[in-house]
Amino acid sequence: MEYDKEFLQGLYATMVRIRTFESKAEELFLQGKLPGFIHLYIGEEAIATGAMANLRKSDYITSTHRGHGHMIAKGADIKKMMAELYGKETGYCRGKGGSMHIADLSIGVLGANGEVAGGLPIAAGAGMAIKLQKKDDVVIAFFGDGASNRGAFHEALNWCSVFKLPVIFLNENNQFASTERVQETTSVANISDRAVGYNIPGVSIDGNDVIAVYETVKAAVERARSGGGPTLIEAKTYRIKGHFVGDPTLYREKSEVDEHWAQEPIGRFERELVSMGLLSEEEKKKIWDAAKSEVEEAVKFAESSPYPAPESALTDLFVDDAGYDY
């Protein structure tokens, strides 16, 4: 592998941070500490990590309902994320959004999104802005396999192709749209095949291979930065957990999950790094311990933070709310 050790360990550490955050979120949810519902990114960490390693702070992403991993990889503050999951005043959205609506405009995260494919038109708009501003930033629009069956996906691909916008459509095909299998709901074997209809490059890759994701997205980002327009990338992965925490997963056998667990991206990358002598036991332990204490700190921060004042529900709708009927 032609990458230096620091870079590779950095990818590993980001995946570990995401996994640790998600495992903790699951535990907290099952303990009844988190309201609402959450969607976990466990098993898909390589995609956010490999993709985001190509981005700078000024680049944008649009995320999904399964967005914690994207946030962390783009550089979000884990404390503010955890506080938002708790519904606390110190959370990213001051308790108004929760897991599915976390955004951080200061690092270019234009929102997780509770609507399947909801982020794709937003990504197209950010792409238009970049082009009008004559910048060389890019947008990565993350979306799931289910989103590729929505009109917004097709409209956005055509739009970005027509205007040659710097938008990378990064499909996370985790095989399930809620409880439905992708092959039972989707007309193509590879979601990237749909790129043909929009006259843009499309490629399918192993989404559990962080280096493959990094390299594929790198080419797409370079193309977008230099005015070459959008790319559709399908990163094939597997949703290890249910659609949401608490999903009884009646639609699959445990043996199927076990089979895929053997291919989950962190263990796989770890084995590679170890076999190449790029990750010692000690380094590995340090990375996991650091992630664990960072997440524990975040939990402490969240738990010790106050809930928002009930009447603060009547803020944040408008910048100027003069004359507004609440």
Partner: protein, 325 residues
């Protein structure tokens, strides 16, 4: 004072603000080369290279991209072509634009404008005739402007182009050609300030858009019968000018609310509710509503004329609140 059309007033507002603010750009169907389906952008033709853009017929992206462009620092003005087609891309408005700032705890300033024609024209039929401003008043998260004259169109739209909140502007198709006085000097009209288009003492008619003109015609006719009608043009529905309406009702003691949209659950219901609560003791008669019958806008001219309200319906409603004079 010089007179220009409603459509020219919109063009002037766009021209002045686009000249001032390089982040404003506008896009939609049939605008860059044609100047809009009703010619609203004719004065922008050939100007602002690259900032007036024809797009695919992709409503969800037309609206949703306005949010993305605003988040990325631009000030988009997206055209919806016909108000009916707001439904086609409605999720991008109702689920994304209108919720974004609130959901994210006030992180964003959503300086974006959605604009386009609404209302009836000559037999455009059910899918090109809607007045659906009430829906945008019902769902929180966007400011709603409904101008009735060239003067208001220009002043309100210039304010919209400086707003830090999302704005939707409904321009009635029958008004684009309407001429009216517009000063040479620059001016802005704040949101939430109604305009008393005609003073009167017997009955207040609260209205907007095309129905302002129908109400003024009704008032002129009724004056001949000795009935004095005050016509209050709300100009904006979110926010709406409660104070002017209540004060007018306190003076006249009778209220008619007139709009082109359906009578059932139209925004008149909200105005009527607030007025009965805030000025109950001042009312001398039940409040009347004027609106379309609760069916779709039919094609054939006599059918359309029957369903959609005009000055005669306003006259009838005014007489009703006066006790059937």
């Amino acid at each position: 004072m010089r007179e220009i059309t409603f459509s020219e007033a919109l063009g002037e507002a766009m021209y002045e603000e686009m000249s001032r603010d390089p982040t404003i750009f506008t896009y939609g169907e049939d605008i860059a080369k044609q100047g809009g389906i009703f010619g609203a952008y004719k004065s922008l033709l050939g100007k602002f290279q690259g900032r007036v853009i024809d797009t695919p017929i992709s409503e969800e992206v037309i609206f949703g991209s306005a949010l993305g462009a605003a988040l990325a620092g631009m000030r988009p003005v997206a055209e919806f072509h016909f108000a009916d087609f707001l439904f086609t891309g409605m999720t991008a408005i109702a689920n994304q634009i209108m919720k974004f700032r609130y959901m994210t705890g006030g992180q964003a300033k959503l300086h974006l404008v959605l604009r386009g024609p609404d209302g009836i024209s000559k037999s455009a039929a059910a899918q090109h005739s809607e007045s659906i401003e009430t829906i945008f008043m019902h769902i929180p998260g966007i400011k709603v402007i409904v101008p009735s004259t060239p003067y208001d169109m220009k002043g309100l739209f210039k304010t919209a182009l400086k707003s830090e909140d999302p704005v939707i502007c409904f321009e009635h198709k029958m008004l684009y050609g309407l001429k009216g006085p517009v000063p040479d000097e620059e001016y802005y009209i704040p949101f939430g300030k109604a305009d008393v288009k005609r003073e009167g003492k017997d009955v207040t008619v609260v209205t907007t858009s095309r129905m302002v003109h129908e109400s003024l015609k009704a008032a002129a006719n009724l004056e001949k019968e000795g009935i004095s009608v005050e016509v209050v043009d709300l100009r904006t529905l979110v926010p709406w000018d409660r104070e002017t309406v209540i004060n007018s009702v306190k003076k006249t003691h009778r209220l008619v609310v007139a709009h082109e949209t359906w009578k059932r659950s139209g925004w008149s219901s909200e105005i009527a509710f607030i007025v009965q609560r805030e000025a109950f003791d001042y009312l001398d008669a039940p409040i009347e509503k004027v609106g379309a019958y609760n069916v779709h806008i039919p094609f054939s001219p006599p059918l359309q004329d029957f369903v959609v309200p005009d000055y005669k319906d306003v006259e009838k409603a005014v007489k009703n609140v006066l006790g059937g004079i």
